[in-house]
């Protein structure tokens, strides 16, 4: 039990620095957000400074904690703080988990986060909502850190919702753009649907275990002897939460639209951190999922399907950011699949590497977009490598990393997952390989179309320029990390139970290296030309192309459901309310009473004889009932 690891002390931690440091780490971004909203809203520079300062503080603190943990083996775990307590039955605490998993994630979030904060300085320059942007970013950072260090289900759910809302705010940042406002709403609601499942899973688990604490549950799960069915149900329900946040099929539809937000947001939230939160959560509660075969099977397949489907969609997209969005989807698919195959470690590894190179790619895309004054259609670009060399090279690095070309980080993490699949589930392995191939292919397509060939929009090309240092510096920083993260191959072991993969044949490894290369070659053949176009591929794929181009018609399907199913129910209720209940029921009642009044009135003929008759009748009737009967 984790009593043991409450190192110091008694109270929840205003005592010594290392402990309250966790709290500072968590709350400094929130404080920044609050200050910006309430006080420094007018002063843009100060607001940005606050926000960046906050995240830097968190970054340094998490570095320190990591260092202490990794090299001194000290873990700081403050006492939980009882947040909501109802007698014995409900005890919701506000605790801190600072185990390896959390620390790694902390590093990722704060590290990538800091980079992106800096980048935003340049990207959001001159935007009227500059301060608001940084406030929201800080709010997001806070919520994300909250997820990472949560020690129980309700707590994680709380921050779960909070990241949801901050992503809502950031996607809809340019709220006057209807598409942006819509996208925000869509993201919020879609993830909400997943949360419903998660909440129910939590309730179900709680009704058996009567606690929300991870540590406690982990310890007591075996003793609860839950039935297979229950276990599976709990696992699946919890997983739906992850499905929403990590945009797994069928709840993936919100992520591409989320690209309506500013590019740093896409980079931070919808590539590096928040979307990975689902995966993180799954790893965090892997002890809950691993026992149930059914749950694992479902998770693995959903992951695989997502990966392949998203990758296939990506080949037909024309928006520089949407392509990346779909690649994010498919990478998330990889991670989820890894969890489903029983390898949370591998999932976390890939999550880490992915965070860096995907953030890098997005920022690169952002830099391109800025360079072309908010042009996002790849077919209006071309030949930019001369104009924006830094962006170009960093982007290439990111691409290679993503495609999994050694020796870049992506290779190692993806390799782990593929090997895992190879052992555990052959069909999924094939899917994964196919995905890997597609990844290389569409990334290649993007690079060649955007940077190579000759410019297709001369005017835009002439005005294009390399981004300022404040934007390129983060690019370089991230590029560096997307190269090296993989080398530190201790990351998996560091994450605890090292997965004993027997050394595979060189053949397999070689094959795995060959796949992306092959993908690049195909892309090269098709798009490495002065004026590339999709026409040949279109011709080759035929109907399939339209299918992927329209993203397998998911949006249309959901639109139909919302319009017809929910719409019908709602209208039914409304009509019932207004016509049956109000008009017919209440209206009928009142009208009926009124009519009764009028009928009663009919006795009031005004004729004396009539009245006299009524008197006599009444008297006789009364006498009859009381006496005669």
């Amino acid at each position: 039990m984790n009593h043991l690891i409450y190192m110091y002390g008694t109270d929840w931690g205003m005592g010594r620095f290392p402990i309250c440091s966790v709290w500072i780490l968590l709350f400094s971004p929130l404080v920044a957000a609050a200050l910006i909203t309430l006080v420094t809203g007018k002063n843009k520079a100060l607001s940005a400074a606050l926000s960046i300062g906050a995240i830097l503080l968190s970054f340094t603190l998490s570095l320190r904690l990591f260092w202490l943990f990794a090299f001194k083996g000290i873990q700081h775990q403050p006492h939980p703080f009882p947040w909501l307590v109802i007698g014995n039955s409900v005890r919701i605490e506000f605790g801190m988990t600072t185990d390896a998993l959390a620390l790694l994630m902390l590093l990722v979030v704060t590290g990538v986060g800091s980079a992106i904060h800096f980048y935003s300085l340049g990207y959001m320059k001159g935007d009227p909502g500059f301060s608001r942007f940084f406030a929201c970013m800080s709010l997001f950072t806070f919520s994300m850190l909250g997820i990472v260090i949560s020690s129980n289900f309700i707590q994680i759910f709380i921050f779960w919702e909070l990241v949801g809302v901050s992503s809502y705010l950031l996607i809809g940042f340019w709220f006057e753009k209807p598409s942006a406002a819509e996208a925000g709403k869509k993201a919020f609601l879609t993830t909400r649907i997943g949360d419903v499942g998660m909440m129910l899973g939590i309730l179900l688990l709680w009704s058996h275990a009567h606690t929300f604490e991870f540590a406690e549950l982990k310890a007591r799960l075996p003793s609860l002897d839950l039935s297979i069915g229950t276990l599976a149900l709990i696992g699946v329900l919890i997983f739906t939460g992850a499905m929403g946040k990590s945009a797994q099929v069928p709840l993936h539809v919100w992520l591409p639209d989320a690209m309506e937000g500013p590019t740093p947001v896409s980079a931070l939230i919808h590539a590096a951190t928040m979307v990975a939160a689902g995966v993180y959560m799954l790893c965090r509660v892997s002890w809950l999922i691993l026992p149930s075969e059914t749950a694992l099977w479902l998770i693995a397949w959903i992951g695989g399907i997502t990966a392949l489907m998203a990758a296939s969609i990506a080949i037909a997209q024309n928006d520089i950011k949407r392509i990346l969005a779909y690649s994010t989807l498919s990478q998330l698919g990889y991670m989820v699949m890894a969890v489903g195959l029983g390898g949370p470690t591998q999932a976390m590894f890939h999550l880490t590497t992915h965070a860096f190179f995907k953030a890098l790619l997005f920022l690169g895309a952002g830099s391109v977009i800025i360079a072309l004054h908010h042009e996002q259609d790849i077919w209006k670009m071309g030949g930019l490598w001369k104009k924006t060399p830094i962006t170009f090279w960093t982007f290439v690095i990111g691409t290679l990393a993503l495609a999994g070309v050694p020796p870049l980080s992506g290779f190692y993490s993806k390799d782990e997952i593929l090997l895992l699949a190879f052992e555990r589930n052959q069909p999924l392995f094939l899917i994964a390989v196919a995905t890997a191939f597609l990844t290389a292919y569409y990334m290649g397509r993007e690079v060649f179309v955007v940077f190579c060939g000759k410019p297709r929009d001369q005017h835009a090309y002439d005005h294009a320029h390399e981004s300022p240092l404040v934007m390129t510096a983060p690019l370089i920083f991230l590029a560096l990390f997307s190269i090296i993260t993989g080398w530190y191959s201790k990351v998996p072991d560091f994450l605890g139970p090292p997965h004993e993969a027997e050394r595979h044949s060189l053949l397999l490894t070689g094959g795995l290296i060959a796949v992306p290369v092959f993908g690049f070659i195909v892309a090269l053949r098709l798009y490495w030309k002065p004026d590339p176009s999709d026409a040949p591929v279109k011709a080759a794929l035929g109907k399939l192309w339209t299918l992927v181009e329209n993203k397998y018609y998911f949006d249309e399907l959901y639109h139909w459901i919302i319009k017809y199913v929910q719409g019908t129910i709602a209208t039914t209720c409304d009509v019932f309310d207004r016509w049956i209940l109000q008009r017919l029921g209440i209206g009928g009642l009142s009208v009926g009473t009124g009519l009764l009044g009028r009928t009663v009135r009919l006795l009031q003929t005004g004729s004396i004889s009539g009245y006299a008759f009524f008197f006599g009748l009444g008297a006789t009737v009364i006498i009859y009932y009381v006496v005669v009967r």
Binding site: T593, G594, L596, G597, R598, V600, R601, L603, Q604, G606, I608, G610, Y611, A612, F614, F615, L617, G618, A619, V621, I622, I623, Y625, V626, V627, V628
Partner: protein, 483 residues
């Protein structure tokens, strides 16, 4: 001499009435109104004086007249009503062509009859004093003898009233015949002594008497006359009918039932309960479509008879007290309403509800008074009517503890409350929510103002500090052997 002490109030009022007749001869027409104010003032003094009179345990006039707390409670009630009605009459006098002072005098004689009914302890005296009240009201109802409504009201009241007294007296005959007495106490003793269910002939007589009294309190089945007569009669007379005559009817009903017929309550309480329900529904339903405020109040007075019958049918101390309390507050409420109505109709010459629209702006005081009285009739706190209804419902529910069929009566009462709120708010809507077509302010004379303030203060005061009146009513109800 002792017996004179008993009837001093009656004598006082009667003599003052006769004096008024004489005074009339020497007062020029313009001062008639002044005479009215004087009369009202005098009665008010008498009212105050009445608090100096101590109740006496044993009956007077060979057991046919009582001066117990019950009697005093009602006498004070009647004096109050008389005083305010005289005030109204004074305001109303310009619309009386001839015989203003006689009008006052008749009101006083009528009041004498009512004062009698409060103390009645014998069927013969009951009949006589009832007739005094009724016959005077025939004259008063048809007083505006050049206006058809008044005459029509008079005629209806006359014929139906005579019919009702025919029933009453015929019933008295049978009660006398089957028991051999006309005295309430004696009657009660005899009934208590006799075992088993009473003879059908006796019950027959009893029922006829009850129906006859039902006419005065306008309960089903003798309620139909009420709206017509209320609408047609001169407004002060209507007020007197609502407040005085109804109270007199209840005074008699309570005496007869609780003092005389209590031993046979099992025979009549179900009947009363049923009649209560029917009366409630009739009055409140019938009031919904009404457009004339006097007619509306006619129906509403049927409804209130129903509420009070609820209390009567409960046959417990709580119920008796509740009825007394209700009558007390009902007097204030209605007097307030009619004062306002007289003042308004004096200006608008119409007692249709639409002519009250925008009253809240035209004359805040009148609007407030009328609105408050309507709300009090509807039984809304913090007004007196609320507590009245509360007690009545309490009485019924208490009874329901032993006989759960009374819950049904309570539910009917509840429905009636909701319905009544609807049409009372109809008046309220006219007063505050609707705009007047001519917004010319309405002037209110000083005495009128005074009366209005008194009644409003009473309504609110009783509604919040119920204690004194509750205490009085409980003391008055104690004379009956109820528990």
């Amino acid at each position: 001499m002792m017996s004179l002490y008993a009837i001093q109030l009656e004598c006082l009022i009667a003599t003052w009435g006769i004096v008024l007749l004489l005074v009339d001869a020497f007062t020029p027409i313009p001062n008639k109104r002044l005479v009215g104010y004087m009369a009202a003032g005098f009665v008010a003094v008498a009212l105050l004086y009445s608090f100096a009179i101590q109740p006496v345990a044993e009956p007077f006039f060979h057991g046919m007249f009582r001066l117990d707390p019950f009697a005093l409670y009602f006498k004070r009630l009647f004096l109050l009503a008389l005083a305010v009605v005289l005030l109204m009459a004074a305001e109303f006098s310009p619309r009386i062509e001839s015989g203003v002072a006689e009008f006052y005098a008749l009101l006083m004689f009528c009041a004498v009859g009512m004062l009698m009914t409060a103390s009645v302890n014998d069927f013969i005296l009951l009949f006589v004093s009832l007739e005094l009240v009724t016959i005077t009201l025939y004259v008063l109802a048809s007083y505006l003898r050049r206006q058809l409504p008044s005459l029509e009201a008079g005629t209806k009241y006359l014929i139906l009233g005579a019919l009702a007294s025919g029933f009453t007296v015929y019933g008295i005959a049978y009660i006398f015949g089957t028991t051999g007495t006309t005295n309430f106490d004696r009657l009660a003793d005899l009934l208590r002594s006799q075992a088993g269910t009473p003879a059908p002939a006796f019950v027959f007589g009893m029922l006829l008497v009850l129906t006859g009294l039902g006419f005065k309190i306008s309960s089903v089945p003798l309620q139909v006359w009420t709206p017509d007569v209320y609408q047609g009669a001169p407004t002060p007379v209507t007020a007197f009918l609502v407040v005085g005559s109804k109270a007199a009817g209840f005074a008699l009903l309570l005496r007869v039932l609780y003092a005389g017929l209590l031993p046979v309550s099992m025979v009549w309480n179900t009947l009363i309960a049923v009649l209560a329900g029917a009366t409630l529904l009739y009055g409140n339903l019938g009031a919904i479509p009404q457009r004339n405020i006097k007619r509306l109040l006619g129906y509403s007075s049927i409804g209130h008879a129903g509420y009070m019958l609820m209390g009567v049918s409960a046959v417990n101390a709580l119920g008796a007290g509740a009825v007394l309390f209700y009558l007390g507050q009902y007097a204030f409420t209605n007097l307030c309403a009619f004062l306002a109505i007289i003042a308004v109709t004096a200006a608008t010459r119409s007692d249709e509800i639409p002519s009250f629209s925008g009253l809240g702006k035209r004359s805040p005081i009148l609007g407030l008074a009328l609105f408050l009285s309507m709300m009090s009739l509807a039984g809304v706190p913090p007004l007196s009517g609320f507590f009245g209804k509360f007690q009545l419902f309490a009485a019924v529910v208490q009874r329901a503890q032993t006989d759960s069929s009374y819950y049904l009566l309570a539910l009917i009462g509840a429905a009636a409350v909701v319905i009544s709120l609807y049409f009372y708010l109809g008046v309220g809507r006219a007063i505050y929510l609707q705009e007047a077509e001519d917004a010319s302010p309405i002037v209110v004379s000083k005495p009128m103002r005074f009366g209005l303030y008194v009644c409003m203060a009473a309504m609110i005061g009783i509604g919040i500090f119920q204690r004194p009146l509750v205490h009085a009513s409980i003391v008055a109800a104690k004379i009956f052997p109820l528990h």
